[in-house]
């Protein structure tokens, strides 16, 4: 079964990229937030509604910590991962699509 790892590296407060991505993900796909994309992991934001619970959501831990986003501020269904797990995810999905 073919599935896509979507990466998003832009702040959703500045850029519509996350919205464009979330509108196109399909069953089996996952989303990885990195760089300024990790601001999308902040809770109580409108796009949290767009995050379908049937998908997996990840964020790069180093990017979250760099930006001072404490765990109390983050959406609970987003899993923090390191770059080695990013590599693993890219092998577990058949394609990687970068939304930038």
């Amino acid at each position: 079964m073919s599935n896509i790892l979507h990466t998003v590296n832009k702040s959703p407060f500045l850029n519509q990229t996350l919205k464009h991505c979330l509108g196109r993900i399909q069953s089996g796909d996952s989303v990885l937030l990195l760089e300024d994309g990790v601001y999308a992991a902040l809770s109580s934001q409108p796009w949290a509604m767009l995050m379908n619970p049937s998908h997996q959501y990840y964020a790069i831990k180093a990017d979250v910590e760099a930006r001072g986003l404490g765990e109390d501020k983050l959406l609970s269904h987003i899993t923090l991962i390191d770059y080695e797990q990013f590599v693993e995810l890219s092998t577990e999905h058949s394609t990687v699509q970068s939304w930038y």
């Binding site: 073919s2 896509i4 464009h20 058949s94 394609t95 699509q97 970068s98």
Partner: protein
């Protein structure tokens, strides 16, 4: 190394022309790929649909008309051209606004296109 199997490559255009060189450099990549006997598709989505508009006249900003470059796709035998219908509609654009022959596809087909690829090259 053995000759690998033919790969399905999708070139995905999400950015408007002229604002940056990305659109043009993406098209250059498609033209380069056409020489490699792979299974190529091209999809215009989000602001990428602006590349397809009729009546572009970039002479005064000293850029090359991106429609002229896109028209080379036919010469290079690149046939699988798609544009996201939803992206057009969001921007208030109609089928008649498009300058080249292309398949206008709905959300379902866009999803299929994305999921069928070996690689997506995003510009």
């Amino acid at each position: 190394m053995n000759k690998p199997k033919t790969k399905k490559l999708l070139f995905l255009f999400r950015h408007a022309p002229y604002g940056s060189a990305l659109a043009k450099e993406g098209i250059d990549a498609v033209l380069a790929a056409s020489a490699y006997d792979q299974d190529l598709s091209v999809l215009f989505m989000d602001d990428g649909v602006f590349q397809l508009l009729k009546h572009q006249k970039p002479d005064d900003i000293e850029e090359k008309n991106i429609i002229n470059i896109l028209s080379a796709f036919t010469l290079y035998d690149i046939q699988s051209l798609f544009v996201c219908q939803e992206s057009l509609a969001e921007r208030g654009l109609r089928n008649t606004d498009i300058a080249i022959g292309i398949n206008i596809v709905a959300h379902n087909t866009v999803s299929q296109l994305l999921s069928q690829q070996d690689h997506i090259l995003s510009f």
